[in-house]
């Protein structure tokens, strides 16, 4: 058993009901794979540093899991089956880690960026 951080980026196009459905499914599947969700943060819709699947924005969720290493492959496989999840990442962290107080700040990379996105 170990502590894992899990960030998922969901497509901003999906409706609220779709999103809730998706999160419910994710939660159910994570528990099925023997992991407990210690924390689940909504980091709101953020601008992506580069487009993913032609989407400029993404809805970030941060999860803190207590999970078994053997199930990581299954969780990864499960995330890959979801079309609405643009990106996911699982990171093993120290057991004292408790996630962030608030979502990380937005960062602007260059002045040109704004011109192109408009």
């Amino acid at each position: 058993m170990g502590r894992y951080e899990n960030i998922i980026v969901i497509s901003p196009d999906c409706t609220k009901e779709e999103e809730e459905e998706l999160l419910k499914r994710i939660r159910a599947n994570l528990e099925k794979f023997g992991s407990t969700i210690l924390r689940m943060d909504d980091w709101a819709v953020r601008k992506l540093a580069y487009p993913i699947k032609k989407k400029e924005k993404g809805h970030y969720f941060f999860l803190l899991l207590e999970a078994d290493e053997a199930n990581m492959a299954n969780i990864n496989k499960f995330y890959k089956t979801l079309d609405m999840v643009l990106r996911h990442m699982l990171v093993r962290v120290d057991d004292k880690q408790n996630g962030l107080e608030k979502p990380p700040d937005h960062v602007v990379f260059d002045e040109l960026e704004g011109e192109f996105s408009n």
Partner: protein, 88 residues
């Protein structure tokens, strides 16, 4: 009349560039974590083009540079940092 001062030259005759000795930011402040979730901090260590800055520019020590690289690569994966920026 005072003699004009010549720029200091190294052994090969090239103009020596003086740079202030830079110290590793993370060694100075051990409480500063290298975290992929903190793009604001990581942004300091990437160039305008989005490349990882070399150690000789930022003064980061080898150990921390390695961790920094890992963090930047992770931040890139979840689109917190760009792989590259748009060209003009």
């Amino acid at each position: 009349m005072p003699r004009p001062t010549r720029p200091a030259r190294g052994q090969d005759g090239k103009k020596r560039v003086y740079m202030r000795k830079r110290v590793c930011k993370f060694c100075q402040d051990p409480n500063l974590p290298i975290d992929y979730k903190n793009p604001k901090l990581l942004k300091y260590f990437i160039s305008e083009r989005g490349k990882v800055m070399p150690r000789r520019m930022t003064g980061t020590c080898a150990n921390h540079q390695r961790k920094l690289k890992e963090a930047i690569n992770m931040a890139r994966h979840i689109a917190f940092l760009p792989f590259t920026t748009l060209t003009k």
